[in-house]
Amino acid sequence: MALAQQSSPHARKARSTAQVMQWVILAALPGLLAQTLFFGWGNLINVVWCIALALAAEAAILKIRKRPAAFFLKDNTAAVTGLLLGLSLPQFAPWWVSAVAVIAAIVMAKQLYGGLGSNPFNPAMVGYALVLISFPVAMTTNWAQPGLLWETAPGFGETLGMIASGQQTAVDAFTMATPLDEYKHKIATHTAAEVLEHPTFGEGIARGWEWVNAAFLAGGLLLIGLKIITWHIPVSMLAGLALMSLAFGSNADLYAPLSLHLLAGGTMLGAFFIATDPVSAASSHQGKLIYGACIGVLIYLIRTWGAYPDAVAFSVLLMNFAVPFIDHYTPPRTYGHHKPRRGIPGKDQG
C-alpha cells in the first residue's frame, strides 16, 4: 500500500489561475457587447484577432524558450492580454497595428521578462503604448462614429475589410474623434456648450462611451463580488481621478467635466480590468490604494495637460515602475508586532 506523501495543507479549494482569467474574460463581455452595439463590429473583430494572435505568439515564444506550451496556454493569461488589447484599440485599427501591439505585449513585455508572473509591466498596456507612440495617425483616426449597430455603423464585412486592408486611415465617414479628444482640443477656443454640440457627445455625456463604461463598471463589480479583484485599486483610481477633476477642472469651459472623465474613454476598463492586473500592481491593501490613486491622478494630469486625450496606458505603466517601491514601504502590520516592518533587513527595524 503506497500512501500518498504530501505536505500540509491536504485540502485545497482555490480558483485556478485559468478560472480566474476565465472570469475576467466573462466579466469583460458586457463591455464588449456595449462596444459592439454602439461602435459596430470593430472591437469584436479586434478582440478575436488579438486573442488568436496572442495565443499564437505565446505558443511560439514558449516553444523558443523550451517551456511546455500547452501547460502555460491553458492558464488563459495570454487570451486576457489579447482581449484587453482588442477592447482598447480603435475599432478600425488596421490589422498590423493590432499585431504589433499583441506581439510586443506577449513577446517583449511578458515572455522576455520571464513569462507569467515575472513581468514588471502590464503587457497589454506596453503593447498599447508602443503602437500609440509609433502609429499616432492610425491610433487617433480610426475611432468609430457612435451609432447603434443596426442603424448607422458599417456592416461586419465592411468593417472586416477596412481592418484587413491595412490602410492607415479608415473611411472618413465611419470615424469620429473620441469625446475626450474633441473636448480637449476644442475647449481652448470654444465654450463648453459649443463643444458639446458635436455629435460624438450625443444627448448624454458621451454617446456610446457612457454605456461602454457602465458595462465595464458592471463587469468590474462582478469581479469584486467574486473576490477576483479587491475594491482598492478601482476605487482609489476613480477617487484620484475625481478628486483631481473636482480640484482643478470644475470649470467646464476650461476643462473636461468629471462626468466625461469617468464615462468617456477607457476609464472603467482601466480601473477594473487593467490597473488591477495583479502581476504588475502593488500587493498590500495600502499599497493598492496608493497605486490606484496615483494612476487616477496621472490620468487626469496627462489628459488635461499632456499631449494625449486618454492616458490609462501611460499612467498604468508609470505606476508599474513604482510598484516595487510602493510594495517596499507598505507591508501590513503582522499580528503581534507594533509596527509594519518596512525597508530592508538590518535597517529601520520596526
Binding site: 500500500m1 500512501l3 500518498a4 506523501q5 504530501q6 505536505s7 500540509s8 495543507p9 491536504h10 485540502a11 485545497r12 479549494k13 482555490a14 480558483r15 485556478s16 489561475t17 478560472q19 480566474v20 501547460f71 492558464d75 493569461t77 513569462g115 507569467l116 508572473g117 515575472s118 473576490k227 479587491t230 495583479p278 502581476v279 500592481a281 500587493s283 498590500s284 510594495d327 507591508p331 501590513p332 502590520r333 503582522t334 499580528y335 503581534g336 508586532h337 516592518r341 530592508i344 533587513p345 538590518g346
Partner: protein
C-alpha cells in the same frame, strides 16, 4: 453576551465534521501490542524505569524524565514489557524513536490510585506535581507539558483562562464529541486549572457549528462563573493567537507567550485529563481520537489507549484498504501524512483521516505566482505570503525573516487559496528549517571563535609571564654572580681556613656554571621550557627555585589542558584525541619536572649534609 473581536483573513473550508459525529465515542478495545514512544511531549525524552520482561500494572509509571522538561509515560493497561527499542513514531519525517512495547495480559489490572476529593486542601505546587506525574502534556497538538504551562513566569499574571473548544479544523470532532458527552469532566478540569491560576475570567470558546457541544457545556457551566462563548465558524479561529484575538481583542506579542498579555489557552482534552488525574488519580493513558475519512466505513470517535497502533484503530473503524490514498494524522489543514499506519496513537493524536484520492486529491502542478494576493487576503497573521515565497525560494532568508517568516503559524490557508497551486507552507517550512540550521551553525562558529580568541589571549599572557620569569632569573643570576664573587673573594681571604670552605666554593662554582648554561639556553625562549623538561638529567642540579617554577608552570599547563579536554569532551569536539595526547604528554612533563626537582633537592641536601658532616 461577551464582546467578540475579529481576526483578519481566514477561510471556510468544507467542514466534513458530520462524518464522525454520527455515533457516540466508542472504546477502541485492546490491541495485541501497545507501543509507547518515550517522547510524546515537547522537552527531553523520558527514560524507561522498567525492565524488559517486567510485569507492569495499568497506570504504572514506566518511563520518566529525570533531567529537564518533560512528563512521564504510564502503562495504559497491565501486561509485560516486551521490548524497549526503536519503532516508527508519528512524525512528519516518518522517523523511528525509542519506544516501550507492552504486551497486554488482558486483565487490565490497575495500579494503586490515589484520587483526591478536595484538591483545594493541597497547595498549588502539589497539584502541579500531580498533573506532571499523571503525564499530562497539551492534547491539542503541540504537547507542551501542562504543569509547566500552568506555572507562568512569576512576573506574569493570567487574567483570562481560555478553554479552547473551537476545534476549527475540518474533519476533527474529538473535542466536539468530548464536550457533548463529557462536559462535566471538562468543567471539573477547567475548575482545577482556574484554581491554580486564579484568573479573573474563565472562558470556554466553541465555534457555532457545534450546537450540541454548546448546549452540553452551557448546561454543565450553569451557575458557575465560567463564560461559554460561541464564536463564528472560521478557520483558524481555534489557533491560539486567533482565539485570543477573538475573545480579548489583544494580540500575543511576536516571539512572546499568551501569558505576556495575561492570557492562557488550554485544550478541552487537557482539561479532561487534568480532571481524571486529580479526581480519579488516573494518569494520562487514553484519549479521544477521531477516525474519519471516506476510506473507513465506520468513522467516529474512539476512546483509545495511548500506544494503540493506528493500523488497529483503522481496522476497528472499518478501513477499506483499496480506497485508502492518503493517511493524515491531524486535520487536513495542518496535519501530516503517514508513510505507514504502523505508528501508535500518542498523547497528541487528535485525528486520523483515511482519505480517498477523490477526497484529498493530489495537488495540481505548481504554476507561476501571479501576485493575485489571495494568500495575503486570507492570511490570519497578516503576513505577505507572496513575498515570503519569493524570498524563501530564492534563498534570501534574511529578507524572509525580515518579513516575519517566523510569525507564520503554518495554518495552510495560503496554500489552500493559491490559484497557482503553490505549496507555500512547504516553502516556509523549508526556509525556517534552513534559517534554524544557519543559526545553529552561526552559534557554533561564534563559540569556536570565542574559544580561539581565549586561547590566543592565554598564549600571549603565558608568553609575557615567561618573559617576566626570564628577566627575574637573569636578575637572580646576576645577584648570585655578585654574591659568588664576594664569596670567592671571601674564600681567597680565608683560604687558610681549610677544606670545607673550599668545598663550598667548589659547589658554588658548580651552581654558577649551571646557571651560565641555563642562561645560554634561555636565549631561545621558545624551546627552553621543553628542553628543560625533557632533559632534566643533563641539568646537573639547576637552581632549586628555577626547578620549582618549572614544575608549577608544567602543572598549570596540565590543568589548563585538562580543562580544555573536559570542555572538548563535553561538546564532543573533534579535537578530543589531540588534546588527550597533549594532556598525557604534559603529564609526563610534570612528572619529569617533579623528579628533577626531587633529585635537585636530594643533591642539595646531600651537599649540605656533606658540608655539615665535614
Amino acid at each position: 453576551m461577551t464582546q467578540l473581536w475579529s481576526f483578519p483573513g481566514g477561510i471556510h473550508p468544507a467542514e466534513n465534521k458530520h462524518i464522525s459525529t454520527a455515533r457516540p465515542i466508542a472504546g477502541a478495545g485492546l490491541p495485541e501490542l501497545l507501543v509507547l514512544p518515550l517522547q510524546q511531549h515537547i522537552g527531553e525524552p523520558a527514560e524507561p524505569c522498567v525492565d524488559i520482561g517486567e510485569r507492569v500494572l495499568k497506570g504504572q509509571k514506566i518511563a520518566d524524565v529525570t533531567g529537564g522538561m518533560g512528563v512521564p509515560v504510564h502503562a495504559p493497561t497491565s501486561g509485560t514489557i516486551e521490548s524497549i527499542s526503536l519503532q516508527p513514531v508519528p512524525h512528519p519525517s516518518g522517523m523511528s524513536d525509542l519506544c516501550i512495547t507492552l504486551r497486554p495480559d488482558g486483565q487490565d489490572q490497575w495500579t494503586a490510585l490515589r484520587p483526591i476529593d478536595n484538591y483545594r486542601d493541597l497547595d498549588r505546587e502539589t497539584i502541579l506535581d500531580l498533573i506532571r506525574d499523571a503525564g499530562i502534556s497539551g492534547m491539542g497538538g503541540a504537547g507542551f507539558p501542562t504543569n509547566i504551562k500552568l506555572r507562568p513566569p512569576k512576573d506574569r499574571k493570567v487574567d483570562t483562562l481560555i478553554l479552547n473548544g473551537a476545534e476549527c479544523e475540518p474533519y476533527i470532532t474529538a473535542d466536539d464529541m468530548s464536550m457533548r458527552e463529557r462536559a462535566d469532566e471538562i468543567l471539573a478540569g477547567l475548575r482545577i486549572m482556574a484554581w491554580i491560576l486564579r484568573p479573573e475570567r474563565c472562558v470556554i470558546a466553541i465555534e457555532d457549528n457545534k450546537p450540541e457541544a454548546i448546549a452540553a457545556i452551557r448546561k454543565a457551566a450553569e451557575g458557575t462563573q465560567t463564560e461559554v462563548t460561541v464564536i463564528p465558524t472560521r478557520y483558524p479561529s481555534g489557533g491560539e493567537k486567533q482565539l485570543i484575538q477573538i475573545l480579548t481583542g489583544m494580540e500575543v506579542p511576536s516571539g512572546g507567550i499568551p501569558a505576556d498579555i495575561g492570557v492562557m489557552c488550554q485544550n478541552v482534552g487537557t482539561a479532561m485529563a487534568v480532571s481524571a488525574a486529580i479526581f480519579r488519580g488516573e494518569p494520562l493513558i487514553s484519549r479521544v481520537t477521531t477516525v474519519t475519512g471516506q476510506a473507513v466505513t465506520n468513522p467516529g470517535n474512539f476512546d483509545v489507549l495511548i500506544g494503540t497502533p493506528i493500523e488497529y484503530l483503522l481496522t476497528r473503524a472499518g478501513l477499506d484498504n483499496g480506497a485508502l490514498h492518503r493517511l493524515v494524522l491531524g486535520g487536513p489543514m495542518m496535519g501530516y501524512t503517514l508513510e505507514t499506519p504502523a505508528v501508535p496513537v500518542v498523547k497528541t493524536t487528535n485525528c486520523v483521516i483515511a482519505a480517498t484520492a477523490e477526497e484529498l486529491p493530489d495537488p495540481a502542478p505548481e504554476q507561476p505566482c501571479i501576485r493575485c494576493g489571495a494568500c495575503a487576503e486570507a492570511c490570519p497573521m497578516e503576513l505577505l505570503p507572496q513575498q515570503l515565497f519569493w524570498y524563501s525560494r530564492a534563498g534570501e532568508l534574511d529578507k524572509a525573516e525580515h518579513l516575519n517568516l517566523f510569525d507564520c503559524i503554518e495554518c495552510g490557508i495560503c496554500s489552500y487559496v493559491c490559484p497557482s497551486a503553490i505549496p507555500l507552507v512547504q516553502y516556509y517550512r523549508a526556509a525556517k528549517g534552513e534559517i534554524r540550521v544557519q543559526q545553529a551553525e552561526q552559534l557554533k562558529a561564534d563559540r569556536a571563535r570565542e574559544r580561539f580568541e581565549a586561547r590566543q589571549a592565554r598564549l600571549e599572557r603565558e608568553q609575557q609571564e615567561k618573559e617576566q620569569r626570564r628577566k627575574e632569573r637573569a636578575k637572580a643570576a646576576a645577584e648570585a654572580q655578585a654574591k659568588k664573587q664576594a664569596e670567592a673573594e671571601e674564600a681567597e681571604k680565608s683560604e687558610a681556613r681549610g677544606k670545607p670552605a673550599n668545598d663550598r666554593a667548589a659547589r658554588a662554582a658548580q651552581v654558577q656554571e649551571a646557571l651560565a648554561r641555563k642562561k645560554a639556553k634561555t636565549r631561545e625562549p621558545a624551546t627552553v621550557d621543553s628542553k628543560n623538561a625533557e632533559q632534566p638529567a643533563s641539568e646537573p642540579a639547576p637552581g632549586l627555585e628555577a626547578l620549582e617554577k618549572q614544575l608549577s608552570q608544567a602543572t598549570a599547563k596540565l590543568n589548563t589542558m585538562q580543562s580544555m579536554l573536559d570542555d572538548a569532551k563535553a561538546e564532543n569536539a573533534d579535537n578530543v584525541e589531540k588534546l588527550e595526547r597533549a594532556v598525557s604528554k604534559n603529564h609526563d612533563r610534570v612528572k619529569r619536572a617533579e623528579e628533577a626537582l626531587a633529585e635537585a633537592r636530594r643533591s642539595v641536601e646531600s651537599a649540605e649534609a656533606h658540608t655539615t658532616d665535614s
